[in-house]
Every structure is written in C-alpha cells, then in structure tokens.
C-alpha cells in the first residue's frame, strides 16, 4: 500500500531510465539526503560527527570501491586497505610537495595514484582467478605497507613513519570543525556513490557483470577482458584511494602504515559480504553493521549490566561484544546469505503486495 507503483506511468525514455524509477524511492533518497545535509548537521553532537558519521561514510566509500571490484567485476581482492594507504600517503605528499594545490584536487590525485597502483596489481587478474587472485592482491597488501615503512621520503622523513595531515582549505575557508569535515566527506561520498550507481548500469558496469558471471562467455560476445578487468581495478582503487585520503585528512588526522593492515582489508571485505555483494546500498549497510554495531554494543552492554546489577568490567564488555558480534554475523549469513541489501529488497517486494499478499 505504502510502496506501490501503480499509477506511475512512464511516458518518456528519460523517465524510464532515471536512477530511481519508483517515486517512493526517489522521495526516500531525497529525504535521506536532506537529513544528511541539513538535519544531521543541525542536531548531531561532536561525538556523532567524529566517532560515528565520518568513519561510517569513509568506510562506506571503501566498501563501495571493493564492491565494484568484487561484487560487480567478480575479482576477489584482499588489498583494499593497502589502496587506502596509497591514497592517504599520496594525498599527504601532494599537499606537502605541490605548492598551493587545492584539497579537492589533492583527493582526486590521491585517487588517481591509487588507481595506478591498482592497475599494476590488477595485472595478474588477467591470468589467474578466484582464490589465486586473492593471494596476488594479498601481495599488494604486504608490499605497499612495507614500501611505506621502508622509504622515509614517503612520510617526509618522519622518524616513525607516521604522517600528520595538513589543514584543509577550500576557497580560503578552513575545514577544521567536525561538522565541516562531515559535510565535506558527505558531499564527496554522495557524489562518488551517484557516479558508481550510474557506472554499474552503463555499458561499463554491464561488461563487468558479464565478466563476473562468466568471462569466457563475455569474451565470446565481444567484451575485451583486459581493459574491462583493469578498469574495474582502477575504479575500485580510485574509490579506496579517496576513502584513504578522507580517512587520514578528515577522520584520524594522522596515520601510520601499520594502521592499514590486512585486518582492515578483511573488515572491508566483511562489510560487503554482510551488506551484500554486488549492491551499492549493501556497501552502506555493511559499513554501518560492521562499524556501528560494536560501538552500540559497547555503550548498550554496560547500561543493561547496570540495570540488572551485573558486575561487568570493560574487558568483559569487550569479550561479550565480540561474542554477540560474531553470532550476529553468523545469524545474518545463515538467514540471508546475500546480505542485508537482499533483506531490504525482499522487504520492498513484500511491501508492494501488502496488505494483500497472494
């Protein structure tokens, strides 16, 4: 009843091809954007900005990048954190070494640098597939972190290899408060998400999906494998690179190579597995689940413990948190192996029939 498209007739090609063909979806997205750009900045506290919203957006972007590669083009990668590291260090070095470079250009250059590195490590994908490719990208993960530690030039000879990001100015205005940083990150993420949404339904995206579903068949119908796969690596690394730059500049403010460990790559991989492989929305849902649930449990558990008078120490809470988190992941994967995005899709289909299911 709420979600029925009856009566929405499409009379032009433009209307048929729009991003969100159903009016309710359109309104929903507009409302969400309005909340994101206006509602949240008005009401959220500093804690929300710096500890929850900014990391959520940054990791959504990284997950989106990995989802393009793994979910759409079918190339398994374990190097997302390394590409984030490339982005972060590239952005730092562009700011440091190029006089007066605008910060947005820096982010783009960081993305492009990561894309270049991504193409390099994507080359093995032309010959190997599946788990073997995952191992090849694992090499990227270790090589890049080693490289950033090894060559002091990359961290401007910092004695410890830790870089501390520069201030951000756009048209002479300094972005230093958490609210401004949030708005900056949100704008970039929204822009890149729209680009991704369009990309995956363009001929590029369809070529990716064809390669994912069966690369021999794809090449038979005239899709050139090499450019398609490498493009997927490039675009994916671009997204991860920008996410890395935002991670350094807008979230932590200082990063070290060890921070971009394999563990972080796995987290990003889990995000898309939980959220939904091959779904833009899934990247967001997965990032929210992996990132926010532990924080929620961390805050909620002591509260309930107090309520029932249980003697919980912070260590116990941490252990229980891992326990609950792990079981929830298993629960979701058993109930819905295609991720949270699929759950949402099912909900939508049910809503279309509600209240008269046949």
């Amino acid at each position: 009843m709420l979600y029925r498209e009856a009566g929405q007739f499409k009379t032009t090609y433009a209307a048929d091809q729009q991003l969100f063909p159903i009016r309710q979806d359109r309104l929903g997205v507009i409302a969400l954007l309005a909340i994101g750009f206006v509602g949240v900045p008005l009401f959220a506290s500093e804690y929300w900005f710096s500890a929850i919203l900014i990391p959520f957006l940054v990791f959504s972007l990284a997950a989106l990048g990995l989802n393009i590669l793994t979910g759409y083009a079918g190339q398994l990668s374990l190097g997302s954190a390394a590409f984030m590291a490339v982005g972060a260090y590239a952005a730092y070095n562009f700011q440091l070494r190029v006089e007066g470079i605008p910060i947005l250009v820096t982010f783009i250059m960081a993305g492009l640098t990561a894309a270049g590195v991504g193409i390099l490590f994507g080359l093995p994908s032309l010959r190997i597939k599946g788990f073997y490719l995952a191992v090849a990208t694992l090499a990227a993960q270790f090589f890049i972190v080693w490289c950033l530690t090894k060559f002091p030039w990359l961290s401007n000879n910092s004695s410890s290899g830790v870089i501390s990001t520069q201030k951000m100015f756009i048209f002479g205005h300094e972005f230093d408060s958490p609210r401004e940083k949030y708005l900056l990150v949100l704008s970039i993420v929204v822009f890149l998400s729209l680009a991704a949404k369009n990309m995956v339904r363009s001929s590029t995206g369809r070529a990716w999906m064809a390669v994912r579903d069966m690369d021999v068949a794809a090449s038979v119908i005239g899709i050139r494998l090499m450019p398609t796969k490498l493009l997927a690596f490039a675009v994916s690394s671009f997204y991860c690179g920008v996410a890395g730059a935002l991670y350094a500049f807008c979230y932590l403010g200082s990063v070290e190579p060890d921070g971009f460990s394999l563990e972080l790559s796995f987290r990003i991989l889990f995000m898309i597995i939980i959220g939904g492989v091959g779904s833009i929305l899934g990247s967001y849902l997965g990032a929210a689940f992996i990132l926010l649930l532990p924080i929620f449990l961390d805050i909620a558990l002591p509260f309930f413990a107090n309520l029932f008078g249980l003697p919980f120490s912070t260590a116990t809470v941490s252990h229980i948190q891992v326990l609950v988190f792990g079981s929830l992941i298993m629960f979701f994967l058993i109930v819905e192996p295609h991720g949270l995005a699929r759950l949402w899709q099912i909900t939508k289909e049910k809503l279309r029939l509600w209240p008269f299911p046949h």
Partner: protein
C-alpha cells in the same frame, strides 16, 4: 490515576534534587581512561591500567583525594586500535569538560591521532615512555607531554651504559640495532646514528617484521656480524623470541640490552632459562620493596578495592609503571591546585599548567614513598620530558635487578633533534610556537 502518580513524582523530584546537590557538594576530578585489557597487548594493559587505577583508589582511600577532591574515572576499551581509540576519546571527552586528568593512551598510534584533538579540546595528553617524542618541545605542543623520558634519550642512555662498560671508549666497536619494524622501532634510529658518529662505533640496523615470532635470518646475520652489543627494540611476542634466538646462536644475553618495552616479566619468564643475564632499560623499578607499592597492596587490596584480578601482578614492572604514571598525573593535579585553588576540581587547561610545572624532587618522591620508583621529574615549557633518565636492569632468572644508577642520555645531542622535528611540524601545521620565556 494521576492521584497515585503524584506522590511518586514528588518523591522522584526530591530525590533527584538531593542527588544533584550531592554531586555539586563534593568536588571530583575525572580521569578519562582510554586503555586496553583485551586484544594483542591486553596482558600488558591489565597490569598497567591496574596499577594506574589502584593508585587513584589509593589516593582516595589514604588521604581522601587531593586536598579533598576525589579521583573518579571511566574506562573505555581501545584494544590497541587507533580508530577505537579516537571513538573512546570522543565518547569520554564530553565528561571531561568540567575536570580532566591527563589521558594516557598507552599506544603510540592513538597518541598521534589524539595530539591535535586534545590540544583543540584543551585536555592534556600524557605519553609516558611512548608517543610523539618531539613533543618534548612544549612551545609547539602545549598539550602533549612525553613525560619522564623518550625513546631517543633512552637509546642515548643505553649507549652511555655500554660506553661505561667499555671504559669510556666505543671507537671501533660494533653495535647491532635489532628493531620491530614499525613506528615504535624506528623512532630511535636517528639518535643512534648521531651517537655512532659521535662515539665512532659501527651501527648495524636489522629490522624484524611484525609480530616478530620468526627471527632466524636476523640472528644468522648477527652471528656473521659478531657485534659487541645488541640494542634491542622489541614488543610483545618478539621479545621472548629474540631472547631464545640469542641463546640458540650463542650470543651472550648480558651483551643484549632491550628497550623498556622489552623488559618486563611477561618477556623474560616465558623465555625461561635463556633470559638469564638479559638486560633492559627501564624508567621504573619492579618489586614490592618500594614503600608505596607495599602500601597500595595493604590499603587498597585490604579494603577489597583493588583493580587487578590477579593480585600476583602487584610489583611487576608494568604494574609499577602504571603507578608511576598515576603519580605523575596526581602530582600535576596537586600542582595545579596550588595555583588555581586547593580543594577544587581542575579543568584540563589547569592540569596542563600543572604538568608543565611539575617538580618532583627526591624529597617529594620520598614523601610519596616512591623513592627510586621513578627518577626526579622537573618539567618546563621547553622541556616536556622532565627527566631523560633510565636505569639498566638485569634479569637474574627470577626477577629484575637494577644494575645501574639513573643514567641520563646525551641531552645536548638529542634535544636539538626534537627541536628541529617540532619546528618542521609547526611549519607544516602553521602553528606559531609559544614564547617559553613568557610562560609562567
């Protein structure tokens, strides 16, 4: 319905009012504790934060707080993860508005991430024996305090120790620097290179990849190099592996000197016999012979308010280190109260002043019952380190024994390195350094 609820409401309102009154009547000093008790280094965190909290409880029980101001705290678990550390900081900083004890993140990564934030929020950040070392220059880093001593000064003090052993001459000797290939392990390299130029000894640098539980190749290289000493910068599982590997290739352990994070019971007990004779630097001694440690066991654990679940950890290196950190924090609050009003809770800004004007003399340490627990500490605006002294200790097979007096690193050599680095930071960040001559 309303009739029944009215009295309940009234009662609730009254109790709420009483509660509010109670809260304002007694002044409280809040400590945001951003620590870890689980994760890869959880065991270390348990002893350290156990010691820290036990000392705060001790101050509350023994003297009723600092001039009547009770210490309170809330812990947040970071699992040694930078992102979690930032989340914890943001969560606790709201509560730290009215009064804030210094934050001890006990992680170099987290302290780097917090330096700017803490400075913007006016909450002092203490990094005792880790963290951003060029923050020694307080003119650029007003809110960051690498208290007691830094990696560079420690490396320099270790060189001094072996120089004394070699009767004042290191020329032509060979020293291997075996380090954890991370921010932590690389920090002293510049200092060691400067020392090697000054004292004309050969320095061979050998990195070990994290986590360091495989060091066969490195020790083979050490055997080929035949060094006179190995200076060792390990952490976690890497420490016991190195000690065992040294035994395997027959390198004498009493020529092997670790950093202070490679010198706790956790490292040596698990290495067994191999660890006998192994030496390490430390800025606090172990054992219950220190009066304050014994008194904490009596007062705090006697009252059943101890923080450690495993009371056998009392008196270990890391537990005592936690106490040292707490002593520095509480003394800073005491100092701040002298200036801003005794018996009042101090804001982060006021505590910062206290930390910058610490003067913990030998006499004061004696009053605290902490003689020899830690060196004298005297901080100023341009010296946030305050001491730069370490002791060298040796593992005798069952406990750590101090084998040297307090040794100070070569300040004239090391501190200019900090100032140069801090200057570069100020330039990158567009910070105008404070004029320390005008600070008081």
């Amino acid at each position: 319905m309303t009739k029944i609820f009215k009295p309940a409401f009234a009662a609730a309102a009254v109790s709420l009012a009483l509660f509010a009154q109670g809260a304002t009547a007694a002044e409280e000093q809040f400590f945001p504790i951003i620590g870890y008790r689980v994760g890869p280094y959880g065991a270390n965190g348990q002893s350290l934060f156990g010691g820290f909290i036990d000392y705060l409880s001790y101050v509350n029980l023994k003297e009723g707080g600092v001039n009547g101001v009770k210490m309170t705290w809330e812990e947040c678990e970071t699992e040694y993860n930078n992102a979690k550390g930032v989340e914890c900081y943001e969560r606790l900083k709201g509560k730290a508005k009215a009064s804030a004890g210094p934050i001890h993140p006990l992680s170099t990564g987290i302290s780097y991430a917090l330096i700017e934030k803490a400075s913007a929020d006016k909450i002092p950040l203490a990094m005792v024996g880790y963290g951003r070392t060029d923050a020694v220059d307080g003119s650029v880093f007003p809110y960051a305090f690498p208290l007691v001593t830094t990696y560079q000064m420690q490396a320099s003090a270790i060189v001094k120790f072996i120089k004394d052993k070699e009767k004042g001459n290191l020329a032509g000797k060979k020293v291997v620097f075996l380090y954890h290939d991370s921010a932590y392990g690389k920090e002293p390299i510049l200092a060691l290179e400067a020392e090697s130029r000054l004292n004309k000894f050969d320095l061979v640098q050998i990195p070990v990849a994290h986590p360091g539980n495989e060091q066969g190749a490195q020790w083979l290289k050490i055997r080929q190099e035949k060094p006179d000493y190995v200076i060792f910068w390990g952490w976690g599982v890497m420490n016991q592996t190195a000690i065992k590997a040294a035994q395997k290739v027959g390198f004498p352990r009493d020529k092997m000197i670790g950093s202070w994070w490679a010198g706790s019971e956790e490292d040596t007990v698990s290495a067994g016999d191999a660890a006998k004779g192994y030496m390490s630097a430390t800025f606090n001694v172990s054992g219950k012979a220190v009066p304050v440690v014994a008194d904490i066991e009596k007062v705090v654990y006697g009252a059943g308010k101890g923080n450690l679940q495993d009371a056998s950890k009392i008196g270990t290196i890391l537990y005592n280190r936690g106490i040292s950190m707490a002593i520095l924090s509480v003394e800073a609050i005491r100092k701040a109260q002298e200036k801003y009003g005794k018996g009042k809770a101090m804001t982060g800004e006021q505590v910062r002043w206290g930390m910058e004007n610490l003067n913990i003399t030998e006499a004061r340490l004696k009053q605290l019952g902490a003689t020899n627990l830690l060196p004298e500490v005297k901080t100023t605006c341009d010296n946030h380190e305050g001491s730069g002294k370490v002791k060298i200790q040796q593992w005798d097979g069952s406990k750590w024994v101090a084998v040297s007096e307090w040794l100070e690193g070569n300040k004239g050599l090391i501190h200019p390195l900090f100032q140069a680095s801090a200057k570069q930071y100020a330039k990158e960040k567009g910070i105008t350094p404070r004029d320390c001559a005008k600070e008081k």
